[in-house]
C-alpha cells in the first residue's frame, strides 16, 4: 500500500466501529486549508469531504473565524449511523450526518457569546492553536455528549448540543487565575470509560482527575503519582473493559503510568520511555473496536541517549514487576495491544489492578 497524505500533518485518524470499514482522517499541509478525508475501503483510497468543517461566514463588520485544522473526530452513537462529530482549531464543534462528506457548525458553541469569550483568552496560547477535543458520546444516550476545550474547560450537553453545562467542579487552574471562569481551565485529554459510561478520566494542565457521574466534582487522583514524575501530561488512555485502569503519559518524558482506582492511587506500571516533544504534540492513532486506543507519541520508545544512564527504576525490576516488552492478558479479557516502539519493541504493559502493593 502506498503512503497517503504525504507531507500532511495527520491530526486524527479514526475507524468507525459501527460499520468497521469507514475511516476518517483529519489532515492538512499547513498551506492549503484544512480538509477531512474519508475512506470506505480501509484506507486503500480516500475522498476529500465535499464540505469540510468551516465556520459560518461572519456578519458584515465582524471578524469571522476560519478553521485552521480539524483536530478531533468522533463517531456518534451506534443508533446514529453515518453521524460524526469534529472538533477544530480555533475551537469549534461540527457534525456530519452523511459519514463525513459534509459538515455543519454548532452555533450553540461556535457563535455563543460566552463560549467565544472563554475561547479568547491567554489560555489560547497553544503553539499550534487552541483545540476543541475529547468529544465523547454516551453509549446509552445519543443526545448526551461531552467535549473539552484547551482551554475553555469540559462541557456537557444532554440535548444533542442545543444547551451546554460546564463541568469544572474540583478542577484546579494555574495559581492566580479565577477557578470559576471556564476560560482558565485547560483540559488536555478527557476519556469516557466504555465499560462504565458514568466514569470519566481527565488529563488536565493542572493534574489527573476522575469524575463519577452523576457527580459533578472531579477528584484529583494524580496527586498520588510519584512526586518526581508529577501528574502533568497530555494523552490519556482508558482500558476498553476495565474502568479501574487508565494510562497516562506524563511530561517528565520517561514514564508511562497507570492511574489506578478506586483507592485514588496512581502507580508506576510500565517503562515506556517516550519522546517529550511527541507526547506534547498529542497526536493520536486510529481507534479500533475492542482495542486499546493507543496514543502514538506515548507509544514511541527512545533511549535517553549515548552516555545518559537509564533512570534507576529502569535498571532494575521490582519484585513481581513484569519484564519490559511483554503484555499480560487480563483474566477474562482479550490481550490488549502492545504499544510498540520504532523497532517493534513493546514499550508498555498491562496488568490487572491490585496485583502488587502500591509503591507510590
Amino acid at each position: 500500500m502506498r503512503p497517503h497524505f504525504l507531507g500532511h500533518i495527520v491530526h486524527h485518524l479514526v475507524l468507525d466501529a459501527r460499520d468497521r470499514r469507514t475511516l476518517l482522517a483529519a489532515a492538512r499541509t499547513g498551506h492549503l486549508g484544512p480538509p477531512v478525508f474519508r475512506s470506505t475501503g480501509m484506507g486503500r483510497s480516500w475522498q476529500e469531504a465535499a464540505r469540510p468543517p468551516a465556520f459560518d461566514k461572519a456578519k458584515a463588520g465582524e471578524a469571522g473565524r476560519a478553521v485552521d485544522h480539524t483536530f478531533w473526530l468522533t463517531p456518534a452513537h451506534a443508533n446514529e449511523p453515518n453521524v460524526w462529530y469534529a472538533g477544530t482549531s480555533p475551537q469549534g464543534l461540527f457534525r456530519s450526518e452523511d459519514g463525513g462528506i459534509t459538515w455543519h457548525p454548532f452555533s450553540s458553541i461556535n457563535d455563543d457569546p460566552d463560549f467565544r469569550r472563554w475561547m479568547g483568552t491567554v489560555q489560547d496560547g497553544t503553539p499550534d492553536g487552541p483545540k476543541l477535543h475529547s468529544i465523547s458520546v454516551d453509549p446509552r444516550d445519543p443526545a448526551h455528549l461531552y467535549i473539552a476545550m484547551s482551554g475553555s474547560g469540559v462541557h456537557e450537553t444532554r440535548d444533542k448540543g442545543r444547551t451546554w453545562a460546564a463541568l469544572l467542579g474540583g478542577l484546579e487552574v494555574v495559581e492566580g487565575f479565577n477557578v470559576a471562569d471556564p476560560a482558565f481551565h485547560d483540559p488536555h485529554c478527557v476519556r469516557l470509560c466504555p465499560s462504565n459510561p458514568d466514569r470519566l478520566y481527565q488529563q488536565n494542565h493542572c493534574g489527573i482527575y476522575r469524575l463519577d457521574r452523576p457527580g459533578t466534582t472531579w477528584v484529583r487522583i494524580g496527586q498520588r503519582m510519584p512526586k518526581r514524575v508529577g501528574d502533568i501530561g497530555l494523552p490519556l488512555v482508558v482500558h476498553p473493559r476495565d474502568a479501574e485502569t487508565a494510562w497516562v503519559f506524563p511530561m517528565d518524558g520517561y514514564h508511562g503510568l497507570t492511574a489506578h482506582q478506586p483507592g485514588g492511587c496512581a502507580r508506576r506500571l510500565c517503562h515506556a520511555r517516550q519522546r517529550p516533544a511527541l507526547a506534547a504534540a498529542g497526536r493520536r492513532l486510529s481507534r479500533r473496536p475492542g482495542v486499546v486506543d493507543g496514543e502514538a507519541p506515548g507509544a514511541r520508545g527512545r533511549h535517553p541517549g549515548p552516555g545518559r544512564p537509564l533512570p534507576r527504576h529502569h535498571q532494575r525490576r521490582a519484585v513481581g514487576e513484569p519484564e519490559r516488552g511483554r503484555t499480560l492478558a487480563l483474566p477474562g479479557a482479550a490481550p490488549a495491544r502492545n504499544l510498540r516502539g520504532r523497532g517493534g519493541r513493546a514499550v508498555t504493559q498491562e496488568l490487572r489492578q491490585g496485583t502488587q502493593p502500591c509503591r507510590c
Binding site: 498551506h31 480538509p35 465535499a50
Partner: protein, 85 residues
C-alpha cells in the same frame, strides 16, 4: 482565460494550466470550483479571505482582492508560497 495551477493543487486539475471564465477573480475561482470540486477551499477560507501562502497574479502583477476585474485574454497565475524550517 488560462489559469496556472500550482503543483500542490494539480491533483485536482491534472493539468498545469486550465481554462476558466469570469469577469472577476472571484468568478474565475467559482468556475474552477465547478470544474474541480474542493479546489477553491484550498485557496480561499470560509470568510472569503485568501489563505496565507496563496498568491494570485493577473498578467504577472499580484492582486489582493477577489473583486479584481478580469478581461478576455488575461492570464491568471496562482502561486503557493512555502515557509517553514
Amino acid at each position: 482565460m488560462q489559469v496556472l495551477i500550482p503543483t500542490p493543487l494539480r491533483p485536482y486539475t491534472g493539468l498545469r494550466e486550465v481554462a476558466a471564465a469570469g469577469a472577476t477573480l472571484a468568478e474565475v475561482l467559482a468556475d474552477l470550483e465547478r470544474r474541480y470540486p474542493g479546489l477553491r477551499f484550498r485557496m480561499i477560507d470560509e470568510q472569503e479571505r485568501m489563505r496565507a501562502h496563496m498568491s494570485f497574479f493577473v498578467n504577472g502583477a499580484q492582486v489582493f482582492n477577489l473583486a479584481h476585474s478580469l478581461h478576455a485574454g488575461d492570464s491568471v497565475q496562482i502561486v503557493q508560497a512555502l515557509s517553514g524550517g
